[in-house]
Amino acid sequence: MWLIKSSIGRKLVMSITGLFLIMFLLFHASMNVAAVFSEEAYNMICEFLGANWYAVAATGVLAAGFIIHIIYACWLTLQNRKARGGDRYAVNVRPKSVEWASQNMFVIGLVVIGFLALHFLQFWYHMMFAELAEKVGINVSLPDGIASTHDGYAFIEYYFAQPLVVALYLIWYAAIWFHLTHGFWSAMQTIGINSGLWMKRWITASNIFATLIMLCFAFVTIFFYLKSIM
């Protein structure tokens, strides 16, 4: 199977799963921005994304995308270290045209996973998971003052009122920003939709796109923090 056995096939899996995760980020960012404008709209989305079969199925697909991306990331990184060989250069210089992110995608990815775990504990565990658990009679206790697993708005208000949480989330966004500035155009290159002129276009698009999407996330986070101290 060439998606496993060939280097270009493995890279293709990396790029398709990566683009899929980007689509998800896009959706997630728009959903968050809705919270700034309307509590009802946001909670409606939260309810829709609760323990319904379609939301659970979509979560499964998303998790599969993540897991495949991460497994391939580990696999490619190990293979590449081996291809590099045991002896390392004594002097290393990074040429100007080489982005820092491009050489550190794995480390950035690990940072992303770390914060993802935190995010899951804070939100998903108290929301979709709690609701599912309830169905089989297990009770997950919610943070103080939050009555319902569907009250996403209350969760946002609760967590983003804490300066430490806000700071951690902003670091997380920065890590994803780095991953995306390289990842987006890199995926195009991997799929082969690239050439001389398009190279510059994709790289510019990558930077703009990563910045816009992460600004959306950061805006919502900071908005709710400011709201809490006003």
Partner: protein, 251 residues
Amino acid sequence: MDKNINITLKVWRQKGPKAKGAFETYKLKNVSQSSSFLEMLDVLNEQLVSEGKEPVAFDHDCREGICGMCSLYINGHPHGPDTSVTTCQLHMRKFDDGAVITVEPWRSAGFPVIRDLMVDRYAFDKIIQAGGFVSVNTGGVPDANAIPIPKKNADLAMDAAACIGCGACVAACKNGSAMLFVSAKVSQLALLPQGQVEAARRAKAMVAKMDELGFGNCTNTRACEAQCPKEVSISNIARLNREYIVAKLKD
């Protein structure tokens, strides 16, 4: 004006493929800045021989930037700090008086060290043997002008054909990937009508050989094109990916 400079060299010395290597430090006085880097190493070797020591082994042949034999990782750059030149075209005027110059071999599992600064790049020949050619039947030579080729493609093919197979791309790559080389060799033929007939088979065979030989997976860092002495572009890698993916989807 070029002058004479005193330099300190830190050179990787390794007796053989299995031996453990280490840096040796040498001082060289009155090196003419007009000399090339390899001439400077010749002077070093004469000095070592006259001291009764083993000379440093390094690869070279044409010494005019066309054969791809010279290598060397100089101060963190394959083919040295100058851009778009091979080591044999690098001049000592790129270095100042008192400079400390670290010289290492290409370091990549695909290119094992033979001795000192010399590495085994036979892997590239094997990749070419796997498909980097156009099969021709003997017979009359077709008239070159009888096959129309768009100027754009002719130029792109020529740019790809500039690759001299030196291996600097692999040496520069943190993933030990040979994609720039392979993509140049696939592109120079895939862009021309004569090469298109076997394009799909060629892309598959060369990539399979490249993978089999243990070169890494390209993560598009672009270190290769930044260090390539012939400025081969990574658009060739995009073309190779495209050719390969389309060929596999058709299977």
